[in-house]
Amino acid sequence: MPITLAVADWKGRVSPVFDVTERVRLFVVDVDNPSDERPVTARLGDRSPHARARRLVELGARVLVCGAISRQLQTAVIASGIRVIPWVSGNVEEVVRAYRDGALDEARFAMPGCGGARLRRRHGGQRRCLSEETEETS
């Protein structure tokens, strides 16, 4: 079933801080039937957490892939029914391909210090960036 994936975009890379990202690129992703549908770019506007979450809902996003994100904003987006995959870095097209292939958890797509899937585990419903040092001691 196709879903709309929103990726925080800054010059073709995943934007480093979603709280101040100006636009997202929207990809319609169907894991079973890959298509060549071109992505759409949309501006996010207002930077308040609830306005950002509302805007993503308006855009029909079901999953958000982004870089760093503050706790308040992540909570607001999750509360809007959108899955958040944070602490991701790299080229947007490659990130989307990795999402399709189920390879987004690879360490090369993690922001420095945020490890891979093993280290971006869920903590109370939110994915947190855990450094290797944090993981070892926890």
Partner: protein, 460 residues
Amino acid sequence: MDDSQEFQQREAAILDSINEGVFTVDLDWRITAFNRAAEQITGVPRHLAMGSQCCDVFRASVCETNCALRRTMASGQPMVNATAHIVNQDGARVPIRISTALLRDDQGVVVGGVETFQDLTQVERLQKELQARYTFEDIIGRSPAMRRLFETLPPIAASSSTVLIEGPSGTGKELVARAIHNLSPRKRKRFVAINCGALPDTLLESELFGHKAGAFTDARRDKPGRFVWADGGTLFLDEIGDVSPAMQVRLLRVLQERVVEPLGSVQPVPVDVRVVAATNKDLADLVRAGTFREDLYYRIRVIHLRLPSLAQRREDIPLLIQHIVSKFNQLQGTQIAGVSDDVLTRLMEHPYPGNVRELENIIEHAFVLCQGSIIELHHLPLELRPSVPPAQGELQPRSLRAMERLLIAETLERRGGNRKAAARELGIDVSTLYRKMKELHIQPPDTDGRGRRRQTRSMS
């Protein structure tokens, strides 16, 4: 270990000893050095930061749109103390202050940039704590006089005694009255304010005590007075020193009997009102002069508060400026950061006959003219701008020499050019004044104090 390794180790040890976060980047924005404080603030270990894109490690609010380092690389100019926030590993927003500079090799060729940043979390927390400590129900101040006032307000509010607030215009008498109401058990009922000096007697009587339909021409309906309106709450009688003797008698009766008689009614209405009265006059003087009833005076001054003028609490001026600037920023949607050092110096020395209200008007005026982020001298009202232009080769505006020059020039101006009077006011000899005027290139005003006095004498 060769020389270059030794040099690198020494460099790393120096960087690690600094409390501020420091990182360097090459021309591809990849991190080439990352000190221990940077690890602590960002939460990213050094070995993972090295070689990564700086924006993926730093994660600052300015990275995308207003990167300080990018601006420095483009302009060649260092940036000092820009503010931003980063999102750390826990998803917390950390306020930071950033400075940047270029890195050059031995030949002076730019090879990258260096960014230093300081975690302001603690500073912001302390600032908020201080702000809370120096703010009391919208009243701002950290001077001893204001802190004493803050300490006395809660017990005053807890009682139901009548309060007299004396203080010059613009010192915040109504703010204090509101604070007393807000802190009192009466806070859920009304706070009703009336300016007794603004209304003629007949109107004031009707406003305070109300009237019955038909009590006078045009009184078509019953109207409850402010006393009844404030029942259970607080009535603020501003400019109490301006009420007529007849009205004083009526007020005295209400305060004694706790009943009001609306105009045209024979039925007294009981009221439970706390009265807070205020005046910019010295009521004791009015009592001595026989224009204010002594019995009413003692009835209203059960608790007596005297508010200091702004000139008596100059140390509060910077705090008040900060408060007024953020208030106007909120009201007008602007982002003015504050006032320049010159403006602060000028505002600190102004006499403020209109007290805090005058300071507020000055800042409001500056907000209209200020298009940038800092209020400068030329944004102030004309009368507050320096009367003397800076001398040739003037030192820094805040130097002791510049301050001395300004002070002497203004005193001479104020004294109409009379050197003797100016010297007396400044606490120096006339000969010292002449010497300083020469040294600091101060031209005396066109009018000469002595000449004018001679002229006046000859005219009289």
